[in-house]
Symmetry: D2
Subunit: 302 residues, 4 copies
């Protein structure tokens, strides 16, 4: 019986790079939080402390900045993929690389009713995400590219039920045919072939579909809403192999106003913090290529 080193990875997390495009009078901005994780032949670094095969995380940070300058950022899926390919192809000990990107979104400031050329306001609550994973080299290289969003906070004030559920000794919940449904949506989807995708356009359309389905589907449960969201996305986008959705059920409890001689016909709610339901599902094509490690959460391991 021996004690051995198991899987390892290392990288630089949360490099906050802002890229301004200023060739035109109308500046563009891409505001990113980039994390890298490398896997490969790094056992010596652990077992003997020998760093000869370790590309420092500081170098990985520098690489992000240099790529942002030299090639630009462009679509974050492309940027993540370019970085991941670089690490696998150009750094000999690296057998696999994962690059996760958060993008903070901005819209132009309005001045006198016109969009301003170089002033911006952070838009919305949601964060756009992308991940690229590259494993292997040459003909055996496999590539995954994911896009997504998180913190998309949505609420509907009616059109949501929860009834007919399983009951056991510990069930006290009353059935309801009209409740507030609210969530802070996380969605990640992976592309069938990432080499020919309009990433910005697809992102905008997937976000549109998610919001539309949340609004339009009469919900019998958050489970059903998520399925309908995912199905709509896959029906509209052949380039997407799979989408995974994670949705906290942010409970809004109807406040009992009877002690004060008042009725409360679905008008006054307490928005609770914890606990929350957490509903998660995948919707996928039955002929989708394998997901591999693509849905491993960014920078999570132990």
């Amino acid at each position: 019986m021996g004690i051995v080193l198991g899987p390892t990875q290392y990288g630089k997390a949360e490099t906050r790079v802002v890229r301004i495009y200023r060739e035109e009078p109308e500046h563009q901005i891409r505001d990113l939080n980039v994390s890298t994780a490398l896997r490969g032949e790094f056992a010596d670094a652990h077992l003997t402390g020998d760093q000869a095969r370790v590309l420092p995380t500081d170098t990985q940070k520098n690489t992000i900045y240099a790529f942002a300058g030299e090639r630009g950022v462009g679509e974050i899926e492309d940027f993540a993929l370019a970085l991941a390919l670089h690490f696998v192809e150009d750094v000999e000990p690296v057998a696999a690389a994962r690059v996760d990107v958060d993008e903070y979104l901005w819209e132009r400031a309005m001045v006198g009713g016109q969009p301003h050329p170089h002033a911006f306001v952070r838009s919305g609550q949601e964060i756009r995400t992308a991940s690229a994973i590259v494993e292997g080299s040459g003909g055996s290289m496999v590539v995954w590219v994911l896009a997504g969003l998180r913190d998309l906070v949505v609420l509907k004030s009616t059109g949501s039920e929860f009834a007919g559920f399983l009951k056991d000794r510990f069930t006290t919940l009353a059935e309801t045919h009209d409740r507030v449904l609210a969530t802070s949506l996380t969605a990640r989807w992976r592309y069938v072939r990432p080499d020919d995708v309009d990433f910005d356009g697809t992102y905008a359309d997937v976000r549109r579909l998610l919001v539309e389905q949340f609004a339009a589907v009469h919900s019998l449960a958050l489970q059903q809403t998520l399925w309908e969201m995912g199905r709509a996305v896959l029906e509209a986008h052949e380039e997407i192999a799979e989408i995974r959705l994670s949705a906290p059920n942010k409970h809004h409890f109807l406040v009992d106003l009877a002690p004060f001689g008042l009725e409360n016909p679905g008008e006054v709610f307490h928005a609770d913090d914890r606990p929350y339901g957490l509903i998660q599902c995948a919707v996928e094509r039955d002929d989708a290529p394998p997901a591999g490690p693509s849905f491993e959460p960014p920078a999570s391991f132990a």
Copy 2:
């Protein structure tokens, strides 16, 4: 020499009340975080533990919910004022009351290009705020009403300088005539007379002016930008006596790409978290009524 009780206050912080208006097919939503603080004759509660004059914080929470149901929320400045007046006028031991409200803003979900009647998406980054303070009773009652916002995140990619500053032994900063300027703005303004104000309309217009000034003013320093913001607000709104602005200078440092053989003409920045400059100023009318305790921070004391 004696040890005595000094100033005291108590209340319920962060009651999360969501009010839905559903009389019309197009629902409305007001999503609030309400904090109350009462001052008055509460020494016995401290000195002997006698609670006979203490209205429980639980009751204050209930009052918020009941008011949200019975009178509705409407504009949050009005809602805060109604609550503060209630505590002072209807609860005998209360000599002064402060009510602070955060409002989380929602916009309608779009379905098929049309706004949906009962589905909403959280909008923007900023939180709208209001405060009402009521002191005294009858003819000697004084009332302050403040509106505001926080977490309004803005950035300009040029049009900002910082040069000609004071230097001492510890100064190493280089002068610059072109930098990124970014902040997460907090603004609070108080009304001359709160009994006849279009609070929703004024909020929207003040927000518009703050963004416009941030964008349009060529900035020699964040100090100057704040002054021009405040001046514009007071020039446009006679109903506002004073505005206070607090702006962290969210530093974006130009990354040195020279070691990689690259130039960086204002394109690649590191967005740093800490430390940050913190610039704060008030802009006021010279005939404004006294601010009294109105700008004390919500729920801060010790």
Copy 3:
């Protein structure tokens, strides 16, 4: 080509249950944050909205409270396992259950140099964690139990090097033979057989070993420190099959005081927030049973 439902799970996240033991004059406290996740035959809930097989997350919350009352909490690994077994064995549609527990630690308040019987102070920074996963039923049931901690913040002011590393075009980092090494450690370990373990005693001893190794090992890299931590734990504890360690390298940068005419021989540092290195590894027995889904992060999916 069809669109199908993929993996799903649902549960109640972050139920904050505090259990007081008050039979003896010296009260005991166990302060928990419990999350459940169930997998099984829940496709109808998604596809048609039929909830007949869905045990509400509200019921899962109630179950946590009822178990805390009826059987007590005791060691959190046991508590998590009891809950997971209940869901799989007693709720027919449930094929697998995962229960994750965070425990906030308290120590007795000292009064006159003596521990107080019913007053407590939160101790330390770290949070103790446990996870139980149960899959299948009857003879094919498989059980995993993990223990762990997170937010164990440690720092050494010398005894750490980083040199001899790989260099490429983007490397600018200077080698160092004396630096500050600091991290906020996450560790999770799984037990070979969870039916006969002194969980509280093992937790205390693993924490002791992790701190000792961090302190005593002369570090050539955080990678090496983690390996030595893990090896020491497995050498001392036969009941542990595997340990996984995740350690952000919380960078402390030596401040250049030369512009002020001062030297800085390893005395003044800037503690930076982001980015940070993130080093992760597993240390395992070569005859360990399979990890299965045990190291999936709590409540992470999409």
Copy 4:
């Protein structure tokens, strides 16, 4: 009627400086978060953008690092005061300065039962704080020095009542003679004369007294507990003029287990996040010198 600049201040917030003392084999560490705020003749910076009298916030940061190197940190009250005096005395346009310090506390790692000379573990939950405010110059200079703590999380599982309180139309709370009482204490105290105080020793003793009073006082309300805490501190420490206490009442609600056929004699609680009561009071000497601006919250203004 004119629009004028009101009060202003500016500074560098949250400089994270770590000072290691390594002259002896047993290293010492002081781990600080320092914020500065200057007031004075800075109107030109706002009104015209002229920075000639503005010491950059970057310089203030440098000053913190240089002072940490040259004079060392020592007790944080002394360090804050040295910085505030420097800004007022050495930087001509500065009329007043405020320096706020958070100190993160460390204890030595234990190895083989012995404290390690250069490895540390973050201790406890609480953060130690200090503030120094200097106004004016020469004979009219006034100095305030405050010490404090925050995030001291304490809980008692019995020995707390809340009954006999005022009731109105909105009161539904039941009286109780046995409840869990928990808070996350913020305390700040100011010294009569800061030039001859054992700051480290006094901090330790005040913390001891606060915990002892929380534990030992049979509480009829959090108000009473705070008063008894403050009184004990002032009785024991003549050098303290005033103490202010702010305590969220972190509610622990007894869970109703009756639906499951179980009793709950004060054993199972739900620890709620929001809302919370917020109880605040000052305890002071009747001959204390004026508090002036000393209790203004750090870095809060608008």
